[in-house]
Symmetry: C3
Subunit: 152 residues, 3 copies
């Protein structure tokens, strides 16, 4: 704009006001098939590292044998959810894919992505609702989830 | 920037142009288990209250016994969908969680979040496709859904 | 702002810096029931047509008998996934909706929307993970998916 002071103020103003996208990664180690990992605290920490107050976070699993959802994270449901997955999409079936065909089908049905609003830096979860990664593969895995955070 | 008029114009310009996030809430009362509530009109009204033309809305259920999806909202499917949920994740099963274990499992599979584009202030739904909240708990509930609207 | 040069620079600066939303459409023809269509390349091409480097894309099916998810796109799973859908939500059942009641229920469970992060113009998919449209209706259909791309 010609005037260096004005230009600096201009870009500073933009930085303060504008919405942005910030990418974070969340590494975890699952303990094996149908391990349900509570990632609520880690995702809120990642949001806290940005300067955003309000926005959305899209959590995504790169990989086709894991899924994201929410659940009340308590021992009863941590047994019920895997037991029901075995009933809905059983391991024993004539899969063409091989030994973990059920893992893939379960992951495609539950889904690899979840988008959750945050307000005043906190996820808008209910009191008894946690954000979880569900390991659907047949062995322990290392996972690097993508957190795409869009906010202001 | 030193010049008050210029500064005012600057911030006004930003306000007009920039993307923003706006949070709205949608309160509803479900009538009981597997009540399917059409929230299409309410969500479009909330978008209409913003100045956005194009963007996305993330609708989220704070709570672990409700879900969001789309369906053709007609009497046949309003019977078929609950009937199939009972087949897929039946109520009678040895749940550890207690009397509404099936509610939680169904909610985790369908999912607590849906993100839908809007264009020219309208959701991009098909003609026979409605956005719905599905009550999966075993009793009528009051729900406060979060609408995180990002647009320009 | 009074000064035309300054005003032009101001708007140009905003254009460069700000996040935006861009709507694209993806037309496809499905070959019939449970056709699984790999749309990864088309969605990445659409992102490439924008000037965005980082952001999210929400892919949405206008219509209540199609769904979006990810899967390892290989012949075995392209048989396993439909076979399991038939087991989970069978075609033969006393549907009130008529001949494609199962199509609707399957679509509502899998979901009509998926949001995926992109980074440096690439979707953050795993190596053996493809973004797919799943035709759940009982006949070949033409579909116009909505891609709402938000980025910077």
């Amino acid at each position: 704009m010609g005037n260096p002071n004005l230009e600096a103020a201009f870009y500073q103003g933009i930085q303060v006001l504008r919405m942005r996208v910030i990418t974070k990664y969340l590494s975890l180690h699952s303990r094996g098939e149908t391990d349900v990992v509570d990632i609520t605290g880690s995702v809120e920490s990642a949001i806290g590292e940005t300067e955003f107050r309000d926005g959305i976070v899209t959590v995504f699993v790169p990989g086709s044998t894991g899924a994201l959802t929410t659940i009340e994270y308590e021992p009863g449901l941590l047994r019920d959810f895997p037991a029901m997955l075995e009933k809905v999409v059983p391991k024993n079936f004539d899969y063409r894919h091989g030994s973990n065909g059920h893992s893939h089908v379960r992951a495609s049905i539950i889904g690899p992505s979840i988008t959750i609003p945050f307000k005043d830096t906190r996820l808008t979860l209910g009191t008894w609702q946690q954000l979880v990664f569900v390991e659907l593969d047949t062995r322990p895995r290392s996972r690097d989830l993508v957190l795409q955070i869009i906010g202001e």
